[in-house]
């Protein structure tokens, strides 16, 4: 399981980012994102800001739970009172452990958008042929993330992951609760960090103390 945590300011500007891996089930706490995914994560997070805006007025909660999903990346959100967004992208180990699997979502993602564009402009025959090529790759991806078999396949690199772990079930209540706890602790430390008189609103959080505390919260709950 790999995580990418970002704090987004009121102007949709990034204030803080941190990536880490799970420390449960013998994880070493290192993120297993590929180089490509690392760059992609920022775009995924940024795109889910739209969803945050949609969801944030629907209930009075600060913790908005799972709000978005991009292939096998799941995004949970926590809103502070001053409209600062905590976004956590979490990715089950099936994709992160096998490095060859990740270029697929991004490539098929671009092709799926191109089909959408094509279908709006071109006659339905060409669209149907190109969308046919996308559907299988999508179904294999979704099938791969839902079943627990990929954890067994990917078990060569990261062993002893069970299907009951937080990592394997991004949508389970346990995961939701763990992330809630993580956000709560980060929020507490975030408040302390911004109470520093030298911190201005929407300024990048550079405090090494804060970074260490986020890391500790990640180790503790995720």
């Amino acid at each position: 399981m790999s995580y990418y945590f970002a704090i987004i300011g009121t102007q949709d500007n990034p204030l803080f980012e941190y990536d880490f891996g799970t420390s449960k089930q013998g994880g070493d706490g290192m993120a297993r994102f590929t180089e490509q995914a690392r760059q992609l994560n920022q775009f995924i997070i940024h795109s889910s800001l739209d969803i945050v805006e949609e969801v944030q007025w629907t209930n009075g909660q600060m913790y908005l739970k799972l709000i978005d999903r991009f292939f096998t990346s799941y995004i949970s959100c926590f809103l502070t009172a001053s409209n600062i967004k905590f976004l956590l992208l979490h990715q089950p180990p099936s994709t992160s452990s096998s490095s060859s699997a990740l270029p697929h979502p991004s490539s098929s993602g671009s092709s799926s958008t191109s089909t959408l564009v094509q279908s709006s402009h071109h006659p339905p025959t060409s669209a149907s042929t190109s969308s046919l090529s996308v559907i299988p790759s999508l179904s294999t991806l979704t099938g791969g993330s839902n079943s627990s078999t990929p954890t067994l396949i990917g078990g060569g690199g990261t062993s002893s992951r069970t299907s009951t772990s937080i990592a394997a079930n991004p949508t389970s209540p346990q995961t939701e609760e763990a992330i809630r706890n993580f956000f709560a602790e980060v929020y507490e430390n975030y408040v302390k960090a911004i109470m520093s008189p030298f911190y201005k609103t929407n300024m990048e959080i550079r405090s090494p103390v804060f970074r260490a505390r986020v890391a500790a919260a990640g180790r503790k709950y995720l």
């Binding site: 302390k192 960090a193 109470m195 520093s196 008189p197 030298f198 911190y199 550079r206 405090s207 103390v209």
Partner: protein
């Protein structure tokens, strides 16, 4: 006056409480603003804080004498230190710094702050200079200097370490320069 009596005096003195975070944030904002005004010339910021503290100290001694009910002169500088730490700081900041590192001539001591209420939440700017130059709580130096000057003691005060800078302790050095003699007002004629 014995040490235990001094600390009891500090405890007994009833004082109106004010929200600590209000004080912390107010003081922090002042420091941050001074830093901004002097364009991060931290030596100058220290000087300004000291000056502000001095002006506070000149008045605060009156408040201290009224609240602490100690209408008696300290017999020596050691006793003065005791009263500063256990009564003065207790009344105004609700902390009791430890008095250590006396020099043999009894004219110099250190106040070690286990906790510094002014510095809660504070992280010094990471511009590479603040950590070396800024004494965040420098106002306290001025307060002591001002207050003691009003009771005929000229002292020199400065911080020598601060946890905000990564030191293990927050330590202020107080040096007695001289007792100021009562100067007679100039003759009328």
């Amino acid at each position: 006056m014995s040490a235990s009596k001094a600390s009891r005096l500090g405890e007994e003195t009833r004082i109106e409480k004010v929200n600590a975070e209000l004080v912390v944030l107010t003081y922090g904002t002042i420091v941050a603003q001074i830093c901004k005004d002097f364009e991060n010339d931290y030596a100058e910021v220290n000087k300004q804080l000291d000056k502000m503290g001095y002006n506070i100290g000149l008045r605060l001694i009156e408040d201290y004498l009224a609240k602490s009910n100690t209408m008696r002169r300290c017999s020596n500088f050691r006793e003065t230190a005791e009263m500063i730490a256990k009564v003065g700081f207790k009344i105004f900041l609700n902390v009791t710094p430890t008095i250590t590192n006396w020099t043999s001539d009894n004219k110099q001591f250190s106040l070690v702050f286990d906790e510094n209420p002014l510095a809660d939440f504070v992280e010094l700017p990471d511009d590479g200079r603040a950590q070396e130059q800024l004494w965040f709580s420098n106002i306290l130096c001025g307060v002591l200097r001002g207050a003691l000057e009003m009771v005929q003691m000229q002292v020199e005060t400065h911080f020598i370490s601060d946890v905000l800078r990564g030191n293990d302790t927050t330590e202020m050095r107080v040096t007695l320069v001289r007792y100021i003699d009562d100067e007679l007002p100039p003759e009328d004629d």
